[in-house]
């Protein structure tokens, strides 16, 4: 044994055997650090599902496919089309080992690692160009382009925030994905192959030549799209290759019948040679139809995501408000865009801490503050920064505002990052974010106090009493920064509840309560928006006369935003009230029956459900008693519950119809208007469906009389998945009339 210096090797087999002999079978000797994780990672030798070297009798270790055999054009198309399925499976989150690295041609091309491009070939032997099988040349060029694409995509994803294994597997098992080769050289190979196909079109037939050409063209365009995406300007030119891919993809799909499958060119055995302890796992097989749909969606999303860059109206500074809408609507698509597209979205938004490639975080944060709480405020005046005298109030303003920006910037950007993740993670991440925003709000309040001293703000009685005599009522200050933080926090809390509906987290008998809580949060938000509007109006009135046109415009914009925000909150609470009342009635009528739950109590389940909100001080989590009383509304008759639901739905519908008529600008949805409008109309349909449910139940109740329950009512209620409903945040049950004698 060539041991290192100072280490003496000796045989412990005997000793070990003797010691092990004193153990009983199954007795476990472990130290305290041997965890479940280690035990899950342990392998069992000679179990074919765990031991990668374990072979079935007669099985060979490696696949014995001959990559040098001549290929027909149909076979090349067949192989390429199979590679599309594997490529898509990888984009969806399956590892390379079970997808692209099961292809023998790619494997031979990458292993042993080629040092020059000429060696990046599944046939390493040097053959004169003229003598090569043209189909080998085509397949090689295609694979070069494919692998290089993968390298880029892997690299970009790793650079942004994502969850390994959950969203994507970046592991390449020590295979180099042509990392060091120049993109231009690879492009040249593809172009050469395209020319070659063209030159032999008469020999192989036009149809096959075109089909091969489309496939190569797609690779060229894909590489181009990736190459361009690092630039964050000029979305029109960025979108060209995506549009090209979208068109070519249709041609590829239409020519799929020309392909001849070559299943032998794919093998799980290759996994044994990868740097992994995993035994071979099956190839992930997406169907051609699924693959087609997902690629098509990928290209459409690739075009759409560029719209995030499209807002460049320098007059308006409301950049991020638009982008909140953009990200929200983009990310709530079903199915969600692939992780690569979400990576692009993140890099467009935040790369190098420069928002959308041109704006500083300060710029963005100040825009948001100006829109929501501080239109035309001297707090945000850039001239403050120029004051050098430390005793000047403007110097203090600049200093305090900078402190606040430093405090809030990360929390602010985290919200956007969170929304670029998968839906489950968004909800989990927001549960952390609200704890963070709780402290942002507290810190903001401290800075608010310092700022108001600097400008000598006069307190006001809020809410206004209407009386002349305000003695005995404590006047308050505008508190802009903490109001702003509180508004975000409330919105985050609402999102957490709404995502709970979307992800089917709540049990049917929890729906009444969770909609009540959502309504409660929306009411808090509406009250806060009212308060903000009140103080903004006061300030606008005070500054009337002295205000410049730009300041006037800022006030108007803010007023418009606040109007829209309070409208949105009102719609949410009306709809949530309606749902809460409807579900409470369904529960009371025995149409939704809770399971027996012998091991739990209502209060303990409330604790579990509300855990993310338990540590929030404002708004304080309602006590279990308040929650139950507000949800059950025991003193209210069932007919009245249903009637209230009906009235709230009417209100919500009226509100939504107004919203649906808003323009792109009014609704802050430039660049995502269609998706945004789709959301609004989905909500309208949900309202209508809920209206039908309420009506049917009311009618049956009237027919059968008070006190009729469950089956006797002749109704059956079902609750489907949120994703299958009209709008993922509004879970509307189905009612079915049944023969109650049955």
């Amino acid at each position: 044994m060539g041991g290192s210096e100072g280490i003496v090797a000796f045989d412990i087999t005997k000793k070990f055997r003797a010691a092990a002999g004193t153990l009983e079978l199954g007795e476990l000797v472990k130290d305290d650090f041997f965890s479940l994780f280690e035990s899950v990672g342990a392998l069992e030798i000679m179990d074919p599902k765990m031991d990668s070297g374990c072979l079935a009798p007669g099985e060979s270790l490696d696949e014995d496919y001959d990559v040098t055999r001549p290929l027909s054009p149909g076979e090349v198309i067949g192989i390429i089309d199979q590679l599309f399925c594997l490529e898509m499976a990888w984009y969806q989150g399956y590892p390379l080992s079970q997808t692209l690295l099961t292809n023998v041609y790619i494997d031979r091309m990458l292993e042993p690692e080629p040092l020059i491009l000429q060696d990046a070939d599944f046939i390493r032997e040097r053959i004169a160009k003229e003598q090569r099988d043209p189909m080998h040349v085509v397949l090689r060029a295609y694979c070069l382009g494919l692998v290089k694409c993968c390298w880029y995509i892997n690299d970009r994803i790793k650079f942004e925030h994502y969850y390994e294994e959950e969203d994507f597997v970046t592991n390449t098992y020590h295979r180099s994905l042509l990392d060091s080769f120049d993109l231009n050289d690879i492009n040249d190979e593809i172009m050469a192959a395209r020319r070659l196909v063209h030159s032999i079109r008469h020999r192989i037939g036009n149809e096959l030549a075109q089909a091969l050409g489309f496939r190569l063209e797609l690779r060229t365009a894909f590489l181009r799209a990736i190459e361009l995406s690092v630039m964050r300007s000029n979305p029109e030119s960025l979108s060209l290759p995506w549009t090209q891919m979208k068109a070519v993809w249709e041609m590829i799909y239409q020519s799929r019948h020309l392909g001849q499958p070559v299943p032998e060119a794919f093998s799980t055995k290759i996994q044994r040679r990868l740097a992994s302890t995993m035994p071979p796992r099956p190839i992930v097989k997406l169907s051609t139809e699924e693959t087609y749909k997902h690629f098509k969606k990928l290209f459409v999303d690739g075009i759409n995501v560029l719209n995030v860059l499209n807002y460049h109206d320098s007059q308006s500074l409301l950049v991020l408000t638009y982008h909140q809408n953009f990200v929200m609507t983009f990310q709530s698509q079903k199915p969600q865009p692939l992780v690569y597209i979400r990576t692009l979205l993140q890099s467009f938004l935040f790369k190098d801490m420069i928002i959308l490639g041109k704006l500083s975080i300060r710029h963005v944060l100040d825009d948001d503050l100006s829109l929501v709480v501080l239109p035309a405020s001297k707090f945000l005046d850039p001239a403050n920064d120029l004051v050098e005298a430390p005793h000047h109030p403007r110097y203090a303003l600049a200093h305090q505002m900078e402190l606040f920006r430093q405090r809030a910037a990360q929390s602010y950007l985290d919200i956007f990052r969170a929304f670029c993740q998968n839906r489950c993670r968004i909800r989990r991440t927001l549960c952390h974010s609200i704890q963070d925003w709780e402290t942002v709000q507290v810190d903001a309040e401290e800075i608010d106090q310092l700022l108001r001293l600097q400008i000598d703000e006069k307190p006001h009685v809020y809410p206004p009493t209407g009386d002349e005599d305000t003695s005995g009522v404590e006047p308050t200050y505008s508190l802009p920064l903490s109001s702003w933080a509180y508004l975000y926090k409330l919105r985050l809390m609402e999102w957490i509840v709404q995502l709970g509906f979307e992800l089917d987290i709540y049990a049917p008998d929890e729906l009444a309560g969770m909609y009540w809580y959502l309504s409660d949060l929306a009411r808090h938000r509406a009250r806060l928006v009212d308060r903000i509007s009140y103080f903004t109006k006061l300030r606008a009135a005070e500054e009337k006369g002295g205000a410049t046109a730009a300041q006037e415009a800022a006030f108007i914009r803010s007023k418009h935003y606040l109007y829209q925000a309070s409208f949105d909150a009102a719609i949410t609470w009306e709809m949530a009230d309606a749902m809460s009342n409807m579900y409470a009635a369904l529960g009371r009528l025995g149409l939704i029956v809770p399971p027996p739950r012998p091991y739990s109590t209502d209060e303990l389940r409330y604790d579990v459900r509300m855990k993310p909100f338990g540590t929030i001080g404002l708004p304080e989590l309602p006590s279990w008693e308040v929650y139950r009383a507000s949800t059950d509304r025991a003193q209210v008759e069932t007919e009245k519950l249903l009637e209230d639901a009906r009235l709230s739905l009417e209100q919500a519908q009226r509100g939504l119809e107004v919203v649906a008529r808003m323009s792109e600008k009014e609704s802050f949805s430039v660049g995502c208007y269609e998706r945004w409008l789709g959301g609004v109309t989905g909500q309208i349909r949900a309202v209508e469906k809920a209206g039908v449910v309420v009506e049917v139940v009311m009618r049956k109740l009237e027919e059968k009389g008070e006190g009729t329950k469950g089956k006797e009512l002749g109704l059956k209620v079902g609750i489907g998945k949120a994703a299958e409903g009209e709008h993922e945040w509004w879970v509307v049950p189905t009612v079915e009339e049944i023969d109650q004698r049955a």
Partner: protein, 190 residues
């Protein structure tokens, strides 16, 4: 799943026993076989021993008395969960399976109840588990007993399926403990 002959026997005829180390030779192969049937990835023997050796008292077997064959099994653990302050005593249901021909007779329900009772007797604060989002029978079973879905875990399993984390709280939460959203031990257990 092979659903050849459905048993009409009553589960009352079955024998329910707590696992003990001396049963390893007789039952461990059957336990592994039963659980592996519904898994895309097998667990190594160390995973079973990890649980059985340390928490055999939280593992129960349903046995057919006629031929002493294994009908169902539940495997759990119970540990202090450190990401909490103060730490909670958390039960975890790691594996549960019933022979397909015996399903629908309350065998799994009985096994889960025995495990929870045993955890309760040992002062557990809560019991958690994950289940595939498509596993409707399992979710119904747990939700019937009082579990709630607390979060959804995206692509939690190697087959690409998502999971729900289910939680059964046995004692009120300490109002001061921070929201439990950190990486759970169960998060690494895929």
């Amino acid at each position: 799943m092979e659903q050849t002959s459905h048993h009409d026997r009553l589960p009352r005829e079955l024998k329910y026993i707590q696992y003990e180390h001396r049963l390893e030779t007789q039952y461990l192969p059957a336990i592994r076989a039963l659980i592996s049937k519904d898994l895309s990835e097998p667990y190594s023997i160390y995973v079973y021993r990890y649980f059985l050796y340390q928490w055999g008292h939280l593992c129960y077997l349903a046995i057919d008395p006629n031929d002493s064959s294994l009908v169902g099994v539940i495997i759990c653990k119970l540990e202090a969960h450190a990401s909490h302050s103060p730490p909670t005593l958390r039960g975890y249901i790691a594996m549960l399976a019933v022979q397909s021909t015996y399903r629908g007779h309350g065998v799994a329900t009985t096994l889960v109840k025995m495990a929870i009772d045993s955890m309760k007797a040992r002062n557990a604060d809560e019991v958690v588990l994950e289940t595939e989002e498509t596993n409707i029978p399992a979710m119904r079973l747990y939700e019937r007993l009082g579990f709630l879905r607390s979060k959804k875990l995206h692509r939690y399993y190697l087959n690409g399926n998502s999971a729900y984390r289910l939680v059964l709280l046995l004692k009120p939460v300490d109002p001061d403990s921070a929201a439990d959203l950190a990486l759970d031990e169960a998060d690494i257990y895929r």
